[in-house]
Amino acid sequence: MASPLRQLVLARLRESLRHPETIFWTFVFPILLAVALGIAFRGERIDPVRAVVVDAPGAEEIARGLRADSTVRVEVLSRAEADRLLRTGRTAILVLPGDPLLYRYDPTRPDSRLARERVDRALQAAAGRTDPLRASDSLVTEPGARYIDFLVPGLLGMNLMGGGLWGIGWVIVEDRIRKLLKLQLATPMRKRDFLLAHVLARLLFVPLEVVPLLFLSWLAFGVSSSGSLLSLAAVATGGALSFAGLGTLLASRARTTATISGLINLATFPMIVVSGVFFSVSRFPGFLQPLFRALPLSALVDGLRGVMTDGAQLATLWPQFLVMGLWGTLCFVAALWLFRWT
């Protein structure tokens, strides 16, 4: 008779690969996301900011001044209409003619702050200000420095996290609901084999979660890794193991699929926001950053980015491996202790 561990791993793989939703979430969804975000932030030209000049004496002159600047798109509208557009976010700034001119904008919106600078620059230039220093722009769209290059390691990390938490957490809870865990407990099956099988099945899934996304982002956007693929594989494996531990812990007590999906969402959403998937952790206030960097997704994404963009050697990524290792081990130990079989 074949070994129980091998049979348990096979059963896990068969179950996953025979579910079309696994295929979608593992392969299709991250690629769609990469394509959508890659297009949205392709960064090949400078997007114009929208500005509205409130219709009043002098408005046309101001508008003419702004139209001279290609980075500003300008309209002249009534005060009421202008206010409405600003309130609903469809314009970044209002210019009210008068002396002095009044810029009306929301300082918490980055595009509004940008618009204020551009509008002011254009109007000052139109009024005759000359720059004492000559400068010109050189736009960088080299592979490696674009948003998509930042994004792909983030998406890889997110994918590995989702795979670990849903792939283990959800499946264990389903087995518990089906009373399959209980039935298996009544057999001579070793609990160790059961949990190990989940972890091993996850590791076998890592190439499936990493390779297609990496290949397609190379094909479509020319994203490549400056570090070795072996290092990349090592970081991805570390992340997969870390989330295998967290997935097992989340599933250790839950008795309904509503509970487990709540727990997984509770764990994943904050991490997606604060772990640097879509934007750098350095955007957060300094005192929060060490906290956020101690999250497993941050460590994984930092590690992947380190290898892909900086070509980092594995040895220099020890803090990331330490974070992932601690999360994985502590969660797994806690899960073993808490695990509810029946």
């Binding site: 091998r6 049979q7 089906r178 039935l183 009544a186 057999t187």
Partner: protein, 330 residues
């Protein structure tokens, strides 16, 4: 894949290593078993001895404590008090080796939907040191044709057969089945019973819980009627029925009108009267005396009969006689 002898017949006719069925000690013995959940007493000082090589039925209505008893038997629950000895061992000594000698099916287990029948049975077989050949198990469970079908495509009866196959594939000495036929139609229950019995034919012991009285009567060598956590009667179905004061039952349906129970009880040879679903059930000792007397009573009252049947008393009648309550198997 299999460690079994190449000769497939050895499998079907083979007996267990541990001596002949008659020479073995009891397969299971429970002594003053108690299980309490807070204030609720699920098992109330239960004593049972299940012999090796027999098919033993735990019979009783839902909530009688059958499932709790079985879960204690298979080591999934700890008793509050009492002694449990299974195949000569106690739980907590070497559970893995004890589990490898027991095949279990539990109520309402659902198998992974996208695994085939053969894959599920192979998986369970892999847990056991002396697992059987999967195909021979599937044949025995009547699932050979469904070997390559996803479990999600199985009917209710086929799912129960799959659970049985998973219990059989470890080549257990003791087969423990918790309500294996619940929800099946009578025809499917009949077929399922035959599959179970092949295990006994190989010398194995079976413990099966059911709330279908007629099934217990047909399948089991001995049964324990469980009521409110106690065994209120233990013996072969024949013995239990014979222990009744009256072991024949006259079922009467009147076309119109009614007759009071008292008048029926006064008829010679009537032991008790009860009513169920519009039928009068009259327990009698001697048919040749009582049936004519009953007919006389109906004639003098000008009551016409829609239907009259004379039958052997069943375990259900035993249950009613012992508890004074109607048996509901719903």
């Amino acid at each position: 894949m299999s460690k079994e002898p190449a000769d497939g017949n050895a499998l079907l006719t083979g007996r267990f290593d541990r001596g002949s069925a008659s020479g073995r000690g009891p397969a299971v013995s429970l002594e003053r078993l108690v299980k309490r959940y807070g204030d609720i007493v699920a098992v109330d000082s239960l004593d049972l001895e299940i012999r090796s090589g027999e098919c033993f039925g735990l019979l009783g209505p839902n909530g009688a404590g059958k499932t709790t008893t079985i879960e204690i038997l298979i080591g999934l629950q700890e008793p509050t008090a009492g002694h449990v000895v299974v195949l000569g061992r106690k739980w907590g000594e070497d559970d893995r080796s004890l589990r490898s000698r027991i095949g279990v099916s539990l109520q309402e287990t659902r198998f992974p939907e996208r695994l085939t029948v053969a894959e599920v049975v192979t998986l369970f077989g892999s847990f056991y040191p002396r697992g059987r050949d999967v195909l021979s198990v599937l044949r025995e469970a009547g699932l050979a044709e469904k070997a390559d079908v996803w479990t999600s495509r199985l009917s209710g009866g086929q799912r129960q057969r799959l659970a049985l196959a998973c219990a059989l594939v470890g080549n257990p000495e003791l087969l423990i089945l918790d309500e294996p036929t619940t929800g099946l139609d009578p025809q499917a229950r009949l077929q399922f019973g035959d599959s179970i019995l092949s295990h006994k034919d190989r010398g194995g012991t079976i413990v099966v819980s059911t709330h279908y009285m007629e099934e217990a009567q047909r399948l089991c060598d001995r049964v324990a009627i469980i009521d409110r956590g106690k065994a209120i009667a233990v013996g072969s179905p024949g013995e239990l029925v014979a222990s009744l004061d009256a072991h024949l039952v006259v079922e009467v349906e009147l076309a119109a009108g009614d007759v009071e129970d008292g008048a029926l009880r006064r008829v010679a040879g009537v032991s008790s009267v009860r009513r169920e679903n519009g039928l009068l059930l009259v327990s009698v000792r001697e048919a040749h005396v009582t049936v004519p007397a009953l007919l006389d009573l109906f004639r003098t009252r000008s009551l016409s009969l829609a239907h009259l049947t004379l039958r052997q008393a069943t375990l259900e009648d035993v249950y009613v006689a012992l508890t004074g309550r109607r048996y509901s198997d719903g």
